[in-house]
């Protein structure tokens, strides 16, 4: 079984080590690279192409959010989880706009951390639905002046799945709803991610939303 490859970026060595140990405890996860600043993180991700990158926000030089942007530009399929001490809205909006899939508070426990890594890799949501709705609401007001709506490249089935995902259903629930297997759903999501050049459900929903493929009604 292929391990899920993770790159860690945090300027705090001790914390980074701690996190690495936590991840490496899991048989299906491995840390392939460690960076202590944003620039290094971008470089390593480009080099190693992990599935998941975990970034701290507060890093010297290029901070986590900027690094996330950079990484997304070069490696769109890498899912980014931001590890942060702050969970206020401004941060969340900024993070998601930068292309993060979700965030974790610094004091998250090992289990939460590892399950989040797995979840994001599986295309599951790593953003609490309530927060997700708030985010979408925020983006609705700030990005209302959308130019031409680019044509939807997703198939109907894919659109369906995306909508349900946007509503907060996890893969299992979607599978049940659409009478599909969980694996199928996961695979569809993978396609969706590829088509949209994103690495996570959050990104996909957000982008779809921004491009007008999804509206607020779809997610209420």
């Amino acid at each position: 079984m292929n391990k899920i490859q993770v790159v860690l970026a945090d300027d705090h060595m001790l914390f980074r080590e701690g996190t690495r140990r936590v991840i490496e405890q899991e048989p299906d996860l491995e840390v392939t690279g460690e960076a202590s600043n944003g620039e290094e993180a971008v470089r390593l991700v480009s080099q190693l192409r992990p599935q998941v990158a975990i970034l701290d926000i507060a890093m010297p030089g290029v901070n986590g959010i900027e690094a996330a942007r950079e990484i997304k530009a070069r490696n769109p399929s890498t899912a980014i989880l931001i590890l942060t001490a702050y969970d206020n809205d401004q941060y969340i909006y900024a993070m998601l706009e930068a292309g993060a899939a979700g965030y974790l508070l610094k004091n998250v426990d090992a289990e939460e951390l590892t399950s989040a890594i797995r979840a994001v890799h599986a295309g599951e949501a790593v953003l609490h639905p309530a927060i997700a709705r708030k985010v979408f609401g925020h983006f609705a007001t700030t990005h209302s002046a959308a130019a031409a709506t680019p044509p939807c490249t997703l198939s109907d089935r894919e659109m369906e799945i995306l909508k349900l995902a946007a509503r907060g259903m996890n893969n299992q629930e979607i599978a049940r709803r659409l009478f599909l297997s969980r694996r199928t759903v996961q695979s569809h999501l993978g396609n969706i991610f590829s088509k949209m050049n994103v690495g996570s459900r959050t990104e996909a929903t957000l982008q779809a939303f921004n491009m007008g493929w999804l509206s607020t009604e779809d997610i209420s």
Partner: protein
């Protein structure tokens, strides 16, 4: 008969001899008359007294037996007798005199007054019934003519002559001419009298004028005191009076008395009040010690009354003038003292900027002595770049005393050093003074430097403060928060990795973990308050949004954020300062205003970012001076202003009791 009168003599026509006794008689008579006339002419030339003139005239006329008797009466304008003379009538004239005095003229006289030619009465004895002299004519005729010259009638001339002569036209002509000559003589005397009177008047006037002029002259002598003035004036007064030898004078003024050496209680006195500034201060008195020669008007002439009043008035004026001058000198010397001792440098300049006068402080300020300053242009004292503006200030027509202008300039001292000088330029009232401008210069170099230093220190302190906060915040974040986070996670691990733990222990560990989380939360919040990483990580706008949301979540004050313009980044120092200012403003809203809502408008303009915060709180009265702000404990606002200034921005706080507060911050790009 013809005969020619030549040179007053009748000459017989050559070749003709008349031996008619009547003719000879007549000729002889005429000769006598002409001679008499000649004598009268002589008299007229010499005589200056009327009475003598008419008396002698009568005598002359009778003496030559040309007329038997003659009388002259001088009449005034009413026809009343003023003087009379006669010859050949003796005592019998008194009746006529009495009658004339009463104003009753005899018939011949009345008639003569009406005519310019003589009136002849053929038989007075019978014709002149009412004339007391009627009987004196004794068969002779009477001839009366008026005494007239240059249109003025002086009186009458009446004579008794032989009847046949009386009817003779030549006789009458001669008589008329005699009367005219007498008239001329009287006229001459009148003129002389008038002339003399005029001369006397002029003399009197000259005395008056001399007196007043001398007083003026004395008063203008340099350094003369009032005492000396009065002493000298009192001496010259008697000379101006009619009878200086018996005259004395006294001047009393302000309780002091000045007298002529001969002064004692005068028999006749003339005095008048001396008034100074509306108050009676004394009197001027002139007196005669003895009795002056009698005069109709009394011992003193009307002119002398006028003169003494004029003298008193003049002395009064001189005294008033002296008092005013003294007061002026006093106030001038007070001004001078003030001017000299003033701590600020005061320059008095003419309208074109030439320095006329300086005080001591000017020397200290400019490093130049009075001599080097006076007479030079004040603009020379300042650096060339300032002169233009100074020019405008100086040459502009400033109106009124309240239009003083205050500006700061760089002055170049004599040693080359620069001083910052605050000038107050005001026009001086009074257009006839040489000085037209008053320039007060206050050396504010120290003040300016102190202020600059202070601002520099404030800047330094603020930066140090921020650095400190950042450091603490980072340490808390990096060290303490991480440790706690790690601790929390490890505790979690312990719980999850130790399935065999008793419940109590698990519960206890959970508790501990929650405690640690709470501590972490606390540390995080504290660290954020100290130095919000949101500002560094995400920028000013998200940071301000965060402040607004915090205001709501933590204090229940509703915030609204309005954004205009395309957001751009400012310098980190600027963003930090803006953040701090808004943070402080919110803190004020929380603490003092009792507001329930705050509006924040952020405008990203072309040249500047403008942030406007307004609350619906109770407002306060904004003191206009920073010192008052400090005094009232509103240091926060002072701090905000300083922060704004440090980033070249401006801060305006507007508030009114009951109307909320609005803070406007503008930061240029």
């Amino acid at each position: 008969m013809d005969h020619i009168a030549q040179n007053g003599f009748a000459h017989s026509v050559p070749g003709r001899t008349y031996s008619h006794p009547q003719t000879e008689e007549k000729l002889r008579h005429l000769n006598l008359v002409l001679q008499a006339m000649r004598d009268i002419n002589q008299l007229i030339i010499q005589e200056t007294d009327r009475r003598r003139l008419i008396t002698h005239t009568c005598r002359i006329l009778v003496k030559t037996r040309s007329y038997y008797n003659v009388w002259v009466a001088l009449l005034d304008g009413m026809g009343k007798l003023t003087m009379a003379a006669q010859a050949g009538l003796g005592k019998s004239f008194s009746a006529m005199r009495r009658r004339l005095r009463k104003g009753s003229l005899p018939q011949c006289a009345r008639a003569a007054l009406r005519e310019s030619v003589p009136i002849v009465t053929a038989d007075p004895a019978s014709d002149c019934r009412d004339c007391p002299l009627a009987q004196e004519y004794g068969g002779r005729g009477g001839i009366t003519a008026r005494l007239e010259y240059a249109g003025r009638v002086y009186g009458l001339l009446c004579a008794s002559i032989p009847l046949d002569l009386a009817s003779d036209p030549e006789e009458r002509t001669l008589f008329m001419e005699t009367a005219q000559d007498i008239g001329l003589g009287l006229h001459k005397i009148s003129l002389e009298e008038e002339r003399r009177q005029a001369e006397q008047d002029v003399e009197k006037r000259v005395r008056e004028i001399t007196c007043l002029y001398t007083i003026a002259d004395i008063s203008e002598r340099p350094g003369i005191t009032q005492k000396e003035l009065c002493q000298q004036v009192v001496q010259i007064l008697p000379q101006s009076w009619q009878y200086p030898d018996i005259a004395c004078a006294r001047i009393t003024i302000g309780g002091r008395e000045f007298v002529t050496p001969n002064y004692r209680e005068p028999a006749h006195r003339q005095s008048t009040e001396l008034v100074v500034n509306g108050e009676m201060m004394g009197q001027v008195e002139v007196g005669y010690l003895g009795n002056p020669p009698t005069c109709d008007e009394g011992p003193f002439l009307k002119e002398e009354e006028r003169l003494i009043e004029a003298v008193a008035e003049q002395l009064g004026r001189i005294t008033e003038h002296a008092i005013a001058e003294e007061a002026l000198r006093h106030s001038e010397s007070r001004y001078r003292a003030l001017f000299q001792s003033a701590g600020e440098a005061i320059f008095l300049c003419s309208a074109d900027g030439t320095i006329i006068s300086v005080n001591r402080a000017c020397q200290a300020l400019t490093g130049r002595s009075t001599d080097r300053l006076e007479g030079t242009d004040i603009r020379q004292l300042f650096s060339p770049s300032e002169r233009d503006f100074l020019n405008r200030l100086i040459t502009v027509e400033t109106g009124g005393e309240d239009s003083a202008q205050v500006e700061e300039f760089r002055m170049v001292r004599s040693d080359g050093a620069e001083a910052i000088v605050r000038l107050t330029i005001a026009p001086l009232p009074g257009t006839d003074l040489p000085a037209a401008l008053q320039v007060i210069a206050l050396d504010v170099t120290e003040e300016r430097r102190l202020r600059q230093n202070m601002q520099y220190y404030i800047g330094q302190i603020t930066r140090a403060q921020e650095d400190e906060r950042l450091r603490i915040s980072r340490e808390l974040h990096d060290d303490t928060a991480q440790t706690l986070a790690g601790l929390s996670r490890d505790l979690g691990l312990v719980i999850s990795r130790s399935p065999g733990l008793p419940e109590a222990a698990t519960a206890r560990l959970d508790d501990l973990r929650r405690t640690v989380d709470a501590a972490l939360e606390g540390v995080r919040r504290f660290s954020q308050d100290l130095r919000p990483s949101i500002l560094d990580d995400l920028g000013l706008l998200p940071a301000l949004e965060w402040l607004v949301s915090k205001l709501e979540t933590e204090y229940g004050i509703k915030g609204k954020l309005i954004l205009t313009g395309e957001p751009y980044r400012l310098l980190p120092e600027q963003e930090l300062s803006v953040f701090r200012i808004v943070q402080e403003a919110f803190s004020n809203v929380r603490r003092h205003s009792g507001a329930t809502a705050v509006d924040m408008t952020i405008d990203f303009g072309e040249d500047a970012v403008t942030v406007i915060l307004s609350d619906n709180g109770r407002g306060f009265s904004v003191p206009s001076r920073a010192s008052d702000l400090v005094r009232s404990g509103r240091l926060g606002i002072v701090g905000m202003r300083e922060r704004a200034r440090l980033i070249s921005g401006t801060l305006i706080v507007q508030s009114d009791i009951g109307k909320g507060t609005t803070v406007t911050l503008r930061v240029p790009r």
